[in-house]
Assembly symmetry: C2
Homo-oligomer: 462 residues x 2
């Protein structure tokens, strides 16, 4: 009879220790299929433990199917316990994220300055929501988003974007990527989606990961070329401020796209209004959605850029026909944003804190933009530069006409401690920009440091 | 010259009022394409406003492309402004949710009693996280989930489920539906997924909405029949406690499935451990993941049942080969759970509050289960009932052998103010249970009320 070493001082009960040890023996084949286990009385005597302990361990093994029992004959090891051998590969620990290399300056575009965020206001509203809603925060959120938040978004859209929709048309979700998953399900994988080229390349990956067919459509100076849409029946657009070139689509092109959408049933325009808040020169151009008379525009926005990337809250406005379809087929999906965050954001919007935050951040970013432009225009680089995209957003484009190719410019800047981003990374495979053009995101760099950063670029490029 | 009515008392600046009115005229065709606008000076005189105001309004119209300008000739309405006519359909307001009918008792299964949730502890931890992390909460969350939360989940899985994984294998997401979207992308749409039949019917919809092919696989008394898997290469399972029949899959069947997975490269088992916390009789059966020696089991769980449905936090544990693939292809996706919630949950787990909460809720639910069973066994219905699924979870099944069909039982109960759920709703189309069986979820009803509820069922069915 095998002796099992039990530890009475352990936090694990004796029966469980015994159960685990016998199970190990069975899994390892030490107790083969068909073998009879010692009787409860004998094993209890042998191990100097109570019979109840053995009985509980055997009971567990029986319940889990490791052993069978036969009346008056005892317990037997289950016969068909084919334990698959351990896989032969040695799992290598996977590195979580590539190490960030060290740059003095990083002109990255996907950054917001969280210092601008009024954290104390947010924390105060969070505490108030915890107190006021208390355990009502535990109830399941409405699948489309909490009514209070959708109402706050509705009224924001009307006041600041001139877009008149009903709160019922708004769908709240955990970021724009999540909303795109939903949207592709709603519009279907069997259609062709037109994406801007150049554009946000992650979109291509998201559409493809969702099994949708995408077509890269070239731009001209007015934005996406409506005459190249071909077999596409849905178009993803950033008309307020094209990413990354900064082109603002003029109204005639918008009309042309709306006309295109109206020509055939089932055509849709997806308007991503991702940074319409940050516009420095004139008032914002009206959204495509504002001009939509035929319910063909799906409006998409997120608070990742205007508030903080850690708040995974985006929303879309569905045209009525799509809304009915969404409710019919997808109300089954649970809400994807915690109730608590939804209420805190609703209060942040209602209280005017969002508006004040945007206007303050706009000033901060405008100051940085001016400092960057000043540094560039006063530098020896100035004669070689053509600057674009300064009306809006959080980055500019500079075309560098010193004869160097894009890759060389990026490499030379890096060697001098400055990270800049070539425009060609935003082009679909097989196409590229006509000239060497860099993206400079300025949201993450303090105004007084641009002089130094531009100095390093001069050193690198001249 | 047209007269525009401007309101100097309005909060909207005069130039913007003028800009909007002219735009309306253009959109309505009142100012046709090619028409020349009045000169700035003349319009200013006509409307008794400053010339700057007109200039700003014209400038905005020009920027947006509503008008063009010709040197020394003035401003002209853009010619190709094809405004699509307003759609002819009248959008009907869509009803948000079907009205809940009024029942005295609702034995629904998808409910947890939020009274059990230690809200004050949660609120205290939330406040502490706001204070301790402050604006670090604004930084973008790690795509796979915050390290602190993944470590807390790792240590929970080891202590309470005996599952040994690394924190690096854990992917946090906004609920299990979101994680399934991810998983289907990772495993691919071109394979056949086997789902339990009966089972959670929403799963069929989720897989199909994601473009995946599903196969409904019948169960026997040991759970899903491994011999019927056919051309499937991934299986979705609830082995700890089958939903909805309550079957606990015995170890030999688990081994058989692990063996099946090991037979061919790329086969995977998706183990949904959705309510393993609520087990009343013996200790929990070991998870399939614990027996996984070949890295073929994807473990999936959520805090929706064990904490509160409003916290949209789930997680999955990826086997090493899939993890590498996930990192390569999907690290581009931003985290889907707010940083704040992740840290609060991490503290809730670390502090032992989760463990205490589970053990307290388990007692509450056990009390309700006992009260329901007592009421059923003492009632005149007892001789007609066969009760199953009492070892775990938050619902039981009763087979009602009084000659009535399922639909009749549901209808008669409803007429007496009690909502019960027929088992056939959990079967794939074309299949149904052998006998009239009801699901009774007891988590949402107080112990002392079961007597009355069962009394109404007797009235309805006898």
């Amino acid at each position: 009879m095998r002796t099992y070493m039990l530890d009475p001082a352990s936090r694990t009960p004796l029966y469980e220790q015994l159960y685990r040890l016998i199970r190990q023996d069975i899994s390892a084949g030490i107790l083969p299929g068909g073998e009879r286990l010692p009787s409860k009385r004998r094993l209890a005597q042998h191990l100097k433990i109570s019979q109840i302990t053995v009985e509980t361990a055997y009971g567990q093994l029986l319940a889990e199917g490791y052993v069978t029992s036969a009346p008056r004959r005892g317990y037997f090891v289950q016969r068909d316990l084919a334990v698959p051998p351990r896989a032969s590969f040695v799992p290598r620990p996977v590195q979580e994220r590539p190490a960030e290399s060290c740059f003095l300056f990083d002109f990255k575009t996907n950054i917001v300055d969280t210092d601008c965020f009024p954290f104390s206001t947010w924390a105060r509203l969070s505490r108030a929501v915890l107190t006021d809603y208390a355990d009502r925060l535990l109830l399941e959120a409405a699948p489309q988003g909490e009514a209070e938040l959708r109402e706050a978004i509705r009224s924001y859209l009307l006041a600041f974007r001139g877009i008149e929709v009903s709160a019922g048309q708004i769908v709240v979700g955990a970021g724009s990527e999540y909303l795109l998953h939903l949207l592709i399900q709603l519009l279907g994988r069997d259609r062709v989606y037109a994406l801007e080229n150049p554009g946000y390349q992650k979109l291509y990956q998201i559409f493809e990961a969702n099994g949708a067919t995408v077509r890269a459509i070239a731009l001209d100076s007015k934005g996406l070329r409506a005459d190249l849409l071909g077999d596409a029946s849905a178009v993803y657009l950033t008309p307020s401020h094209h990413f990354p070139t900064g082109v603002v689509m003029p109204v005639p092109r918008r009309m042309q796209l709306l006309q295109w959408a109206a020509e055939q049933p089932g055509r849709y325009l997806i308007e991503d209004d991702y940074d319409s808040e940050f516009r420095y020169a004139s008032r914002p151009i009206p959204a495509l959605k504002e001009l939509d008379r035929q319910e063909r525009v799906i409006y998409l926005n997120t608070f990742a850029k205007s508030l903080a990337p850690s708040l995974r809250i985006g929303y879309m406005v569905l045209p009525e026909p799509l809304l009915a379809e969404y409710r019919r087929r997808y109300s089954l999906y649970a809400a994807s944003v915690p109730t608590f965050e939804q209420h805190t954001l609703a209060r942040f919007l209602e209280s005017g804190a969002f508006e004040r935050h945007i206007s303050r951040s706009r000033n901060v970013y405008k100051g940085r933009l001016d400092a960057l432009l000043e540094a560039l225009r006063q530098s020896p680089l100035a004669p070689f530069l053509e600057i674009r995209g300064i009306e809006a957003g959080l980055h500019i484009l500079i075309r560098v006409k010193n004869g160097l190719r894009e890759e060389e410019l990026v490499r030379l800047a890096a060697e001098n401690g400055v990270r800049v981003y070539g425009l060609s990374a935003y082009y679909a495979p097989g196409s590229r920009p006509e000239s060497a053009t860099m993206l400079l995101g300025y949201a993450g760099i303090a105004s007084e440091r641009f002089q130094e950063a531009v100095g390093l670029l001069c050193k690198a490029w001249l």
